[in-house]
């Protein structure tokens, strides 16, 4: 361990200047070492304190190591603790000396006093000296069996420390198994929770090369283990509760009752004063209900109030962490928060990082009913003393305008900003007016009359200047002095430092010239000459290009530079929905704070004990599977015994309606669905047993026999037969997904009926199942859906794993296929694509 570097700034009279003090200490310690005089412990304490104080401020006191160890023969526990602290700090750098400490630490591990046993064991395991690990195993073994829970707690963490120093002695001593049994049987909650964190860490690291560890890791997510923890969650302290809740997030519930049981069990955790407990609970609720749209929405409603309370009750730092999560939810489901907009008003004394989040939230929740009030409030901030916030506020007004609510009133306000005559306000507003005009050209008249009154001399910021110049060019016919303003600007070409502005000047001069040639000709000539002589490559190139195209044909030039424009309908979103979904899946982590998925800021091994490491990673399949598994398993039941399946369904409904819980199961499965399901199953039935020419066209196509009467533009795929009853458990799927490389990626289209049917994503799952392609997990919300499918070849059981991301607004699907047998993956992809293309067809 590295002691902190020296800091000489603390003006203390006892501040040691260097070595003389340390050697002084050394001799004093030596004198005391053998002494048994009364009161010697007090003198020792004083000396020890000095040593540790030096250590803290970064003075190297490792040279007194020997003396410290000699002095440690004491029964004074305060002295012992200081000695342990010291030893822990310097052992790694002094492995030889550390050997000296082993003796007394081992002796202390057998002390009568459990406190000393515990402390000694902790120090022993904290030495971090690899060649001393042989001395750890024995004390750890007895520590884990100690009858005192304090010692056991420390021993459990000690095992983890040992694993990090050197894994093999830890595994050889079978410590993980011991921890597992302690975890499930120990009476002390802290021992249990330390076992859980130690095992998560050890098994995650071991899982990379051990099948068994991988299984063990999965076993933590089994129903008995999860219920064991959840049922006694209140016995644990708040920090351990967070650990358990994080584990529960990864659990795959067996059915919807399971989901509601868990939610009802955890309901009161939302009233906890500790924000970390509440957020961890919220994550469990959100992930469990991902595919149950109604319930998911109920969850949003339920968590709103507790989160708002946490935002206003903690320190500013804590509110920030909570607010970042609220921000994520607001942006995801603005309509749910639309009536709460007042909570996102900024307070004048809030830190700017909080205000910034709130401004974004206000922008997100703006709708027909609250826009007027929100914009009024934002306009107040535009006069804020904090210039950065004033700018953000103006931008927020602009964004709301681009969302199409009450544009009329907003344009008025924006134009009022221009009257404030503050440089930065004018600058921001100009940029916005430009964007507005690109989207709503019908407002040009009102805007141009005001913009025309702005003197370009008062605008310094390149972005604003460029915006103004763009408007001058675009609306040259409406602004009487446009050519002259441009001319002025062009004359000062040399003083214009921003290449962006110079580029805009060239284009604006061209546009202006096409509209008002006589007035602009001279200015354009000057601009082109200056541009061609410009040292900036882009400016030079553009000027030259304009010059040549003008030479070639003025009309062509006009068509190139100033074609009739279409209004922009949607400005590109800066963040893809894929990324947003990943961040949502990493709820209650730093990803939310940084607004980036974890792979962008963290290396693999630090993404948390239960994150999956490759690209499947953060879309972690389990939480999604948790929601999906409900229908999937019911199909399975139907598959086996159709009558029973229907009965079960009724049972489920009865239960979920009668259990008096706060949440109710969605009733998306009506009996008509069941009949259609029956049909589908009936159709898929024969496909498994026979390749008969009299099968429906669908099968011919599916099986690639080329007998299809339907036009098939794709080359006929090789024969591929899939097992309609293939089974693969989610754990195995994850593991395979991790291990296999992507064998191919392709894009395919969905037909419009398919997109329409996708309002019930379950229908796609059923559809694919009828083609012997089984869904293992699904998630997402319109317009982005994600599914994980698998299929198994027959007769040899080779697996095909597919990730399918469907964007319902573009009607496109991206598929990634991973296969046990690479050579047939193209054939499978064709089958998949064909099946997908039939989705929604009657």
């Amino acid at each position: 361990m590295a002691p902190p570097a020296a800091s000489q700034r603390y003006p203390s009279p006892s501040q040691p200047s260097g070595k003389s003090e340390v050697s002084d200490l050394k001799s004093q310690l030596r004198q005391l070492a053998g002494s048994r005089a009364p009161g010697v412990d007090d003198s020792k304490r004083e000396l020890y304190k000095k040593v540790i104080s030096y250590m803290t401020i970064g003075i190297d006191v490792s040279s007194v190591f020997g003396e410290m160890v000699m002095c440690s023969a004491t029964s004074d526990i305060v002295l012992k603790k200081m000695c342990y602290l010291y030893v822990g700090n310097y052992a790694k750098g002094n492995p030889d000396l550390s050997l000296l400490t082993i003796n007394f630490l081992q002796r202390d591990c057998k002390d009568e006093d459990p406190m000393i046993r515990g402390l000694a064991l902790r120090s022993l395991c904290s030495l971090r000296v690899p060649n001393l690990v042989e001395y750890l195993v024995g004390p750890l073994e007895s520590g884990l069996k100690d009858n005192n829970s304090y010692v056991r707690t420390i021993a459990v963490t000690g095992v983890l420390k040992l694993y990090h120093i050197s894994p093999s002695p830890c595994i050889d001593a079978d410590f993980p198994a011991t921890l597992k049994s302690l975890m499930l049987h120990d009476s002390d909650a802290q021992v249990v929770s330390n076992c859980l964190s130690a095992l998560q860490e050890i098994w995650s690291l071991e899982a990379n090369h051990s099948e068994e560890a991988c299984r063990e890791k999965e076993s933590l997510l089994s129903k008995p283990v999860i219920y064991y923890f959840l049922n006694r969650i209140k016995e644990f302290n708040e920090w351990a509760q967070c650990l358990i809740l994080e584990l529960a997030v990864k659990y795959v519930p067996s059915d919807s009752n399971d989901i509601f049981d868990i939610m009802n069990l955890l309901e009161d955790r939302l009233q906890h004063a500790n924000g970390a407990v509440v957020l961890a609970t919220v994550k469990v609720f959100l992930q469990l209900t991902l595919s149950m749209t109604d319930v998911h929405q109920q969850v949003y409603e339920r968590i709103k109030s507790p989160l708002l309370t946490l935002v206003s009750s903690g320190s500013p730092e804590q509110s920030y962490a909570i607010l970042s999560h609220l921000h994520l939810l607001v942006v995801r489901a603005p309509f749910i928060f639309a009536s709460d907009y007042k909570h996102f008003y900024c307070q004048y004394n809030e830190p700017s990082y909080v205000k910034k989040l709130k401004l974004e939230m206000l922008t997100a929740v703006a709708n027909e009913s609250n826009t007027y009030e929100i914009v009024t409030e934002l306009c107040e901030y535009a006069a804020n003393v904090d210039i950065a916030i004033a700018r953000e506020s103006i931008r927020a007004v602009g964004k709301i305008a681009l969302q199409q609510y009450d544009v009329n009133a907003i344009v008025d306000r924006l134009l009022q900003f221009l009257e404030m005559e503050k440089d930065y306000v004018t600058a921001e507003t100009l940029v916005l007016v430009k964007d507005l005009l690109r989207k709503y050209p019908q407002w040009s008249h009102d805007c141009i009359s005001v913009v025309g009154g702005i003197s370009s001399k008062n605008i310094q910021e390149p972005k604003a200047k460029a915006a103004l110049i763009w408007m001058l060019g675009e609306y040259a016919q409406d602004m009487s002095d446009a050519p002259y303003v441009l001319e002025n600007l062009i004359e000062n070409w040399e003083e214009e430092h921003s290449a962006e502005v110079r580029l805009h000047l060239l284009t604006a001069a061209m546009k202006c010239f096409f509209k008002r040639p006589p007035e602009t000709q001279k200015a354009l000539g000057t601009a082109l000459a200056a541009g061609i002589a410009d040292f900036h490559q882009d400016v030079h190139d553009r000027a030259l290009f304009y010059y040549r195209v003008l030479q070639y044909d003025v009309h062509v030039a006009e068509r190139v530079v100033s074609p009739p424009k279409q209004a922009v309908s949607v400005f590109a979103d800066t963040q893809s929905s894929e990324i947003k979904d990943r961040i949502f899946d990493e709820f209650n982590s730093l990803s939310v704070i940084y607004q980036k998925p974890s792979y962008m800021f963290t290396d693999k091994e630090h993404r948390g004990p239960f994150e999956f490491s490759d690209e499947l990673g953060n879309i972690s399949i389990t939480p999604e599977a948790s929601s999906d598994i409900v229908p999937a398993q019911q199909y399975e039941a139907n598959d086996k015994d159709l009558l029973l399946g229907i009965d079960q369904k009724d049972d489920n409904k009865g239960l979920s309606n009668n259990n008096g819980s706060a949440y109710t199961a969605p009733s998306f499965e009506s009996s008509s669905n069941i009949t259609s399901q029956l049909q589908e199953l009936a159709i898929s039935g024969p496909a498994t047993s026979a390749i008969t020419p009299q099968s429906s066209f669908g099968f011919d196509d599916l099986l690639g026999l080329g007998l299809s009467a339907a036009p098939a533009p794709t080359p006929s795929p090789p024969l591929l037969k899939l097992n309609p009853r293939a089974a693969l458990d989610p754990g195995a799927f994850q593991q395979k997904w991790r291990q296999l490389p992507i064998s191919l990626t392709q894009e395919c289209s969905l037909n419009p009926q398919g997109i329409a049917a996708l309002t019930v994503p379950q229908s796609l799952i059923r559809h694919m199942q009828s083609h012997s392609i089984h869904c293992i997990a699904s998630g997402g919300q319109s317009p982005n859906f994600k599914f994980f499918f698998f299929a198994q070849k027959e007769p040899e059981p080779l697996n095909y794993l597919t990730e399918c991301v469907i964007n319902s607004s573009s009607a496109k699907a991206q598929i990634k296929v991973k296969a046990d047998e690479q050579s047939t993956s193209q054939a499978f992809a064709t089958v998949f694509e064909t099946a997908l293309s039939k989705y929604g067809m009657p």
Binding site: M1, P4, A5, Y10, I52, T56, G58, V78, K81, R122, R128, T157, N194, S197, N237, E238, W239, C242, Q271, H272, A273, A276, V278, L279, I303, K304, S305, L308, T309, L310, S312, S315, P316, A321, I322, H325, D340, Q347, Y348, N349, E350, P351, K356, E377, E380, A383, A388, E421, S589, L590, S591, V592, I593, S598, F601, T602, D603, R607, G608, E611
Partner: protein, 451 residues
């Protein structure tokens, strides 16, 4: 869920304590952190956010009494967990030291290390309960005399920054004995309300909110059970609907939008008779946090007038009126107002016989500041300021100045009308009668009047 290092830095960036739990973060993290916080420039923000990432290391910090409590980790942990932990470590240390400041820290760093070793092991939180920690801690605190504290109001001791996390008046350690070797049996219950109000330029209330905490600090031996009865007409908003939707003026009863509770609180009879029962652990902790948007009477009415007086002059008149009973006294009141950028001078005129008032024009950021030691309920005070401008103003002067903001503390007053009706301590014997202190205090969080 683990952290790598924990350290505390002074305002100047000196290490006060430093503990490395996992040796995963390279040397120099304290310097990296301090440089980053001190010279934060990213995103145009003036101050560093509580969480940032430098070279793959995540830095978390909270500021308490001017000290930086910092944790580092490489893992993608729960941010609120780490921030909550840092705040909790500060509270545990305060429980032990009685007074939390740089001086008490330096005098007791061995004790602090002792605490840190029990709070976190190998980066995993073990416990932050002062009660539990007591049996593992052997160092005696060296108590720093509270006299060395700034003489500020009781509720502000544990505060730092704009939004407050108020503490109590109690500045004695939970473990230290009184002179004479005996501890006084006593318990403190503080109802602390931070209020936020925004007035429109015409004096209407645009938004208002009360963020309250019932804070407890117990020095009772033997952990007796305590029952805390609140108003019987207390209601808690259901279904997450904002009270903004159905704000009523009739105002019978206290309606909380939402609340949350400390772990130790049992709510068995809360629904029937609004009673909380708990066995208070040692140390200071919030029993309950609550949030209210129900309408309430703002304690101060603020009236601001700004008038042009010639081409280079203007006059500002600020009038504040205390709208609470005359047996209540507000203290440490400050009124601030940003003035137009081009203000070069401000001369003030206080009312006749004004005592305990100070005025200031902060040249650097053009802010007018008026502070008053106290205001008695019903009282009214006026400030006149004559402004001189360095250039002619154009347009609307009210757009260039304001808003007026206020901070204040009003002891023994709470705006929500939430009350502790009684505080019952399970009796150990008939002669057992500990001291009980129930105190109310109202503080401004964000109290703003637009002009």
């Amino acid at each position: 869920m683990m952290i790598s290092q924990f350290f505390v830095l002074s305002q100047r960036g000196d290490n006060i304590v430093f503990r490395d739990y996992r040796a995963e973060v390279p040397k120099g993290s304290t310097e990296t952190f301090f440089r980053k916080v001190k010279f934060w420039k990213e995103d145009g923000n003036a101050e560093a956010p509580p969480i940032f990432n430098v070279d793959g290391v995540n830095y978390f910090h909270v500021k308490v009494v001017g000290l930086y409590f910092v944790a580092t980790t490489r893992v993608n942990v729960s941010p609120s967990l780490v921030l909550e932990l840092l705040q909790r470590i500060a509270r545990v240390i305060k429980d032990y030291l009685g007074v939390l400041n740089e001086d008490s820290f330096r005098k007791n760093f061995v004790l602090v290390y002792e605490l840190l070793d029990e709070v976190i092991d190998f980066g995993y939180v073990q416990t932050t309960s002062t009660e539990v920690l007591k049996s593992y801690i052997f160092n005696e605190p060296i108590v720093v005399a509270p006299a060395r504290l700034q003489p500020i109001d009781p509720a502000a001791i544990f505060t730092q920054g704009a939004k407050r996390m108020p503490g109590t008046a109690v500045t004695k350690s939970v473990v230290a004995n009184e002179p004479g070797g005996r501890r006084r049996e006593e318990i403190f219950v503080d109802i602390i309300e931070k209020i936020s109000v925004t007035f429109s330029s015409s004096g209407y209330i645009l938004t208002s909110e009360i963020d309250g905490t019932i804070q407890m600090k117990s020095y009772l031996s033997g952990n007796p059970e305590i029952r805390l009865a609140l108003n019987e007409d207390l209601n808690i908003g259901r279904g997450g609907r904002s009270v903004y939707d159905y704000r009523s003026s009739s105002g019978s009863g206290v309606i909380l939008d939402d609340c949350n509770f400390h772990e130790s609180v049992r709510l068995d009879s809360f629904d029937s008779d609004r009673t909380l029962s708990l066995v208070p652990p040692d140390g200071e902790f919030p029993v309950m946090n609550y949030r209210m948007t129900q309408e309430f009477k703002p304690p101060f009415h603020v009236n601001t007038l700004i008038e042009e007086a010639g081409r280079l002059k203007a006059e500002v008149i600020i009038k504040i009126r205390a709208e609470f009973p005359s047996d209540i006294v507000a203290n440490t009141i400050t009124v601030q107002m940003p003035l137009p950028n081009y203000t070069s001078r401000a001369s003030f005129e206080l009312e006749l016989g004004a005592a305990g008032q100070r005025t200031d024009f902060k040249e650097s950021n053009k802010i007018l500041e008026w502070s008053l030691k106290k205001i008695v309920g019903g009282g009214e005070h006026t400030l006149r300021a004559k402004l001189t401008f360095s250039q002619e103003f154009h347009g609307n002067i009210t757009k260039e100045a304001g808003p007026v903001s206020m901070t204040f503390t009003i002891p023994m007053y709470n705006v929500s009308k939430l009350q502790v009706k009684y505080l019952q301590i399970a009796k150990k014997s008939s002669s057992y009668n500990p001291y009980r202190w129930v105190r109310y205090v109202t503080q401004a969080n964000s109290y703003v009047a637009r002009i």
